[in-house]
């Protein structure tokens, strides 16, 4: 097999990709620690944490962050509680309509989410659920379902049946086998699905805007309003403060998610 001999072309591609993919984020990173950065200087003339103090000292910033943390934790945890058992059933139990049901969960992904949220918003308007905590939680759970069904289902399937069968042969009940054999092996993937759903919901603008606003202000909605502001640093600080920890968490999940697995999840 011919492998590219000239690393030169590869280096140019790497440089272009590096600039295109990392350039925008780097700009935000620099802005977050810039006190003064005036055109046409390539780097800030004054660095510091001034705007971190400004942001953290403001209740209009802290409150949306706390709201988002509460909403996201509740929605993700509830979604996990109902989706993980379902994923186990899809992977390990035989029941009527199993294929069709699993498929309908994946196919729900083929509908643009924003149109779904519009339809839900109209129903919620009539029910008086717009702008309520639980209204937003319900819609956010919907965003979690995709991660929480297909990753765990694939994980439960990936566990070799031999171990579980050995457990059954020794007379253990299904619950016992699940608790002592299946669950420990599936745990990393379950944790990964939790993190993925958590971060996705944490940064989701659409549901919060259509169902929550204006009564409920979440962190992404705050970011949306700060993004257009004259003082650049405030949104930059918020971005770095919330996104960088999330990014670190997401990197941890990479270990449990193969590229092939993701591609297969989307039907490749």
């Amino acid at each position: 097999m011919r492998r590219s001999k000239t690393p030169f072309g590869g280096l140019i591609l790497l440089a272009a990709m590096g600039l295109a993919m990392l350039g925008p984020i780097m700009t935000v990173m620099v802005w977050a620690f810039a006190v003064k950065w005036r055109y046409p200087n390539l780097v800030p003339s004054e660095w510091g944490l001034k705007y971190w103090h400004v942001i953290l000292g403001r209740s209009t910033v802290i409150e949306p962050i706390l709201t988002s943390l509460a909403l996201t934790s509740v929605a993700t945890t509830l979604a996990a509680l109902i989706c993980w058992p379902a994923a186990y059933a899809f992977a390990r139990l035989q029941f009527p309509g199993r294929q069709l049901l699993l498929f309908s969960f994946i196919a729900a992904n083929a509908v643009p989410k924003f149109t779904l949220f519009v339809s839900i918003a109209v129903v919620f308007l009539q029910l008086g659920m717009v702008g309520t905590f639980w209204g937003v939680v319900m819609v956010q759970m919907l965003s979690a379902i995709l991660f929480m069904i297909w990753i765990p289902t694939a994980a439960f399937r990936g566990i070799p049946p031999a171990l579980e069968e050995a457990g059954f042969d020794l007379g253990a009940s299904r619950l016992r086998v699940f608790w002592s054999i299946t669950l420990p092996q599936a745990m990393p993937a379950l944790a990964a699905s939790y993190v993925l759903a958590f971060v996705a919901i944490m940064f989701e603008v659409d549901s919060a805007l259509l169902i929550g606003a204006p009564k409920i202000t979440t962190m992404p909605l705050l970011m949306l309003s700060l993004s257009a502001q004259v003082i650049v640093q405030e949104a930059a600080v918020l971005c770095v403060m919330i996104w960088v920890p999330c990014f670190a968490l997401l990197l941890l999940t990479r270990r449990f998610m193969s590229s092939k697995g993701i591609a297969q999840g989307f039907g490749a």
Binding site: L209, L210, K260
Partner: protein
């Protein structure tokens, strides 16, 4: 995903099968209810609503709401604008992903690994973060302009608040999935087939069009559908980076709903859903065919 498990673990005898059926349904009931309450019911009621008008004689079937949408120049322009730029974004993102996937298929070493990682990076970056970052990177006096001016290029006009602004962000955030899907497709082409063709004197173009491309048809279709469905209903990217008018349908629907005109927002949503359903239909059909052939 939907492939069959012919013999589930621990299933023995009929009695246990029945028990399994009951337990299985009980376990999937809760998310299913959520899907029915939050997807099926609102969608069906929305579609039904848009095909009816309520007048003196009660509720009657009518296409009047759609007629009103298509009679309004601004609405039609928004729909056209959304579709045109979605397709352009899909074409660009798919071409770049194909190039990257091909490069990655025939390269190894540290540079290829780094390029692979970079192409997957957007998976970790939420839309709101990249939109804001693009404002600061591509915007007026942004870092990109500064870099260009440092190398002596001064004619930069910012794409910020033009259709090109969201377009760049769409392509940026759309790269990872098609790269993954196309790489999975290319991995199925054996080295032997390519070597055999090369031994017979086939050049790179010939190998690409005769050996690789036919194998990639499904992957390309899935890649296109994934990008299309992600872009067509997006809100954050066009809201922060796009021009005030025309609007992408996501922004338009949000504003219509915000102006307390839910019925018009529903019509806009149903029209967008119909467009997406065509692409989504291809996606689901391809997905099913892939599962069957696995």
């Amino acid at each position: 995903m939907v492939d069959d498990l012919t013999a589930p673990v621990g299933s023995r005898g009929r009695g246990q099968m029945m028990g399994q059926g009951f337990a299985g349904l009980a376990l999937v009931a809760a998310p299913l209810v959520l899907l029915i309450v939050l997807v099926l019911f609102p969608t069906v009621s929305m579609v039904a609503n848009t095909f009816h008008v309520t007048g003196e004689g009660g509720r009657a079937f009518s296409l009047a709401k759609f007629a009103a949408f298509f009679a309004d120049d601004y609405s039609v322009e928004n729909l056209r604008y959304t579709l045109v730029w979605t397709v352009i974004s899909c074409g660009t993102a798919l071409s770049i992903s194909l190039g990257l996937a091909l490069y990655l298929r025939f390269s190894e070493g540290r540079i290829a690994t780094m390029i692979h990682a970079l192409s997957l990076f957007p998976l970790f970056v939420p839309a709101i973060v990249i939109s804001y970052a693009m404002v600061r990177f591509l915007g007026p006096n942004g870092l990109f302009q500064l870099l260009l001016e440092k190398v002596g290029f001064t004619g930069y006009t910012t794409p910020y608040l033009t259709p090109v602004g969201p377009y760049i962000a769409f392509v940026w955030e759309s790269l990872p999935l098609p790269v993954l899907v196309l790489s999975a497709g290319l991995a199925q082409v054996s080295d032997h087939a390519i070597e055999a063709a090369r031994d017979l004197g086939a050049g790179p173009v010939r190998i690409f069009s005769q050996i690789l491309l036919p194998q990639l048809k499904r992957s390309l279709l899935i890649g296109f559908a994934l990008i299309f469905l992600g872009v067509v209903g997006s809100f954050t990217v066009p809201y922060l980076l796009g021009p005030p008018a025309p609007e992408m349908m996501g922004v338009y629907m949000q504003r219509t709903l915000g102006n307390m005109r839910p019925e018009e927002a529903q019509v806009q949503a149903v029209i967008l859903m119909a467009v997406a359903a065509i692409v989504g239909g291809f996606y689901i059909a391809t997905m099913l065919r892939n599962q069957r052939s696995r």
